[in-house]
Symmetry: C2
Subunit: 260 residues, 2 copies
C-alpha cells in the first residue's frame, strides 16, 4: 500500500502522501489549520493518495521522529509551519537532524534577501537563508524566503497563501498517479434509511471508497454519499446507482459534486 | 511529559490528550474538519495539554494501531467519526478490537431507539446500539445514539453539533489540570523585526510557550505573538513585555486576546 522509496518510480505501486502540520497554535485551538484541505485537493488531482495527517507541537524530538516515521512510510511527506525567523521556528533544523546532515547558509538566497529587504533585514531575517545540506529550494512569488525539499519531504510555510504558492511550485515535479475521481450526492435523508442499499453498491464496486457523511443543512438532517477512486468508469456507474437509490427513496437531492 | 495511566490520578504529572479524526472525507479534502478546534479549546480550559492530532482513514488496521499507540501515550484520547449506521462506520468495532473485547447490543439503548424512531428504525439503525463490552455510554441531548468511553478513550460522532454535545457531557468527569492561560497580541509588523526581542522574553519565562504566527490582515503583514502556559502570573508578565516590545517598535496593535 505504501512505498519507502524516496525517489519514486512507481507504476504499479500506489503513490501515497502524509501531511505534518507543525505548530502549537493549532493544538491550542488558537489558530485553525487552513492548509490540509488545499494539499488534499492537489494530491487528489495528481493521483497521490493522502493517507494520514499529523498535527504536532513545535518540539524537536517530536518533529524529527514524526518526519522519519512518515518519510519511510509514504511516497511524499509535506510539512507546513515553523520555517520563519523566530525562536519557535525549528522545522528546518529538525529536518536536517532527521536526515543526519548539516545546515548551510545559501549564498544566493542571502543576495536575494539583501536586495529585497535592504536595511530592514536583521540577523533573524537571514536565518531563513539556512537549509539542510542537500536541500532543493522551492522558490515562489509570494516571498523571497524559499521552502525546500529534502529527499521525499517537502517543507513549506504555515501561512496559507505562501504554502499554496510553494506547493504549486513543487507539484509539477512530483510523480503523478491516476487521478482520483469522485461523484457525490447530498440529499435530505438519514443514514439509517440508505445504509443497506449503500453497502450493496460498495460490494458491487470493491475497488472504490464509498463514504457516507451525515450533516445538518437548513437545520434538517442530510447525508452526503461519495463514490471515490481511480477507476473513473466505476465511479460514474456507482454514482448513478447512488442517485437512483436516493430518488427511489424520495429523498430530495440538494447537491451533486463531481471531481476533478 | 506524558503518562500511560488509563485512569489518571495525576497531581504532579502533566495531563495530556490526543485527538484522532477518523474519516476518508477529511483526507480527500471533500470535508473540512470542524472538531479539532472545539476539543482543543475545551482541553485548554480544563488544563489538559493537547499534544497531537492524527487524521486517519476508515481502515480497521490503521484505527486499531493508532488507538493503541495513543491511549498508551496520553491521559486521554478523543476520537471523532465513524460511529453511524453505514458500512464505513467501523470505529466502534475497531475500539473493541483495540481493547481485545467483544461487542454487545445495549438493551436500554434499543428501548430508547424503539420509542424514538418507531417504524423508521432499520437493522442499520440498531447497529448504533452496539458497544464494546465495558464501555461507558455518553448520552447527549442531540441524538438518541450514544457515544462511549472505553478506558481513557472517548469515542464521539463526527457531526460537529453532536460531537460538541458528547464532549460537553463527558468533560465534567475528566481529571482537571491547572487551566492553561494565554495572552496574545496581534500587530502590523513582520517576524524579523520582533524575533530577537521575542526570544529574549522566551528566555526569561522558560516555563511558558511563546509562539509567533505570521498572517496577512487587510492585505498587510501582521504577526500574532502568544504567551501560553499554566503559570498565570508569568503569562501576564510575559504578555506585558510583548505589548511593550510591539509599542516600542511603533507596531500598531490590532487585537489582544486573553484566554480563558
Amino acid at each position: 500500500m505504501t512505498t519507502s522509496n524516496p525517489t519514486p518510480t512507481p507504476q504499479s505501486t500506489e503513490l501515497t502522501a502524509a501531511v505534518i502540520l507543525i505548530g502549537n497554535e493549532i493544538l491550542s485551538g488558537s489558530v485553525k489549520d487552513a492548509n490540509l484541505t488545499y494539499i488534499a485537493e492537489r494530491m487528489t488531482e495528481i493521483g497521490v493518495r493522502l493517507r494520514e495527517c499529523r498535527i504536532i507541537p513545535d518540539e524537536e524530538e517530536v518533529i524529527v521522529d514524526t518526519v522519519n516515521t512518515l518519510r519511510n512510510a509514504h511516497t511524499y511527506v509535506f510539512t507546513t509551519g515553523g520555517i520563519g525567523p523566530t525562536h519557535d521556528d525549528i522545522t528546518m533544523r529538525c529536518i536536517a537532524k532527521a536526515f543526519g546532515v548539516e545546515v548551510y547558509r545559501d549564498a544566493a538566497t542571502v543576495e536575494v534577501f539583501k536586495k529585497h529587504y535592504g536595511d530592514r533585514a536583521t540577523d533573524a531575517t537571514y536565518r531563513m537563508c539556512d537549509f539542510p545540506v542537500g536541500a532543493k529550494l522551492i522558490h515562489c512569488k509570494t516571498t523571497p524566503a524559499p521552502g525546500f525539499s529534502m529527499g521525499n519531504v517537502y517543507v513549506m510555510a504555515g501561512v496559507p497563501k505562501i504554502m499554496q504558492d510553494m506547493l504549486d511550485t513543487a507539484t509539477p515535479n512530483l510523480t503523478k498517479g491516476k487521478p482520483i475521481v469522485s461523484h457525490s450526492y447530498t440529499a435530505f435523508t438519514v443514514e439509517s434509511r440508505i445504509s443497506v442499499a449503500f453497502e450493496e453498491i460498495q460490494k458491487q464496486y470493491p475497488q472504490l471508497e464509498l463514504g457516507s457523511y451525515p450533516q445538518r443543512i437548513e437545520n434538517q438532517p442530510a447525508v452526503k454519499l461519495v463514490a471515490r477512486g481511480a477507476d473513473a468508469d466505476a465511479v460514474v456507474a456507482a454514482g448513478d446507482k447512488i442517485r437512483t437509490l436516493l430518488t427511489d427513496l424520495g429523498a430530495e437531492i440538494i447537491a451533486m459534486d463531481v471531481r476533478p
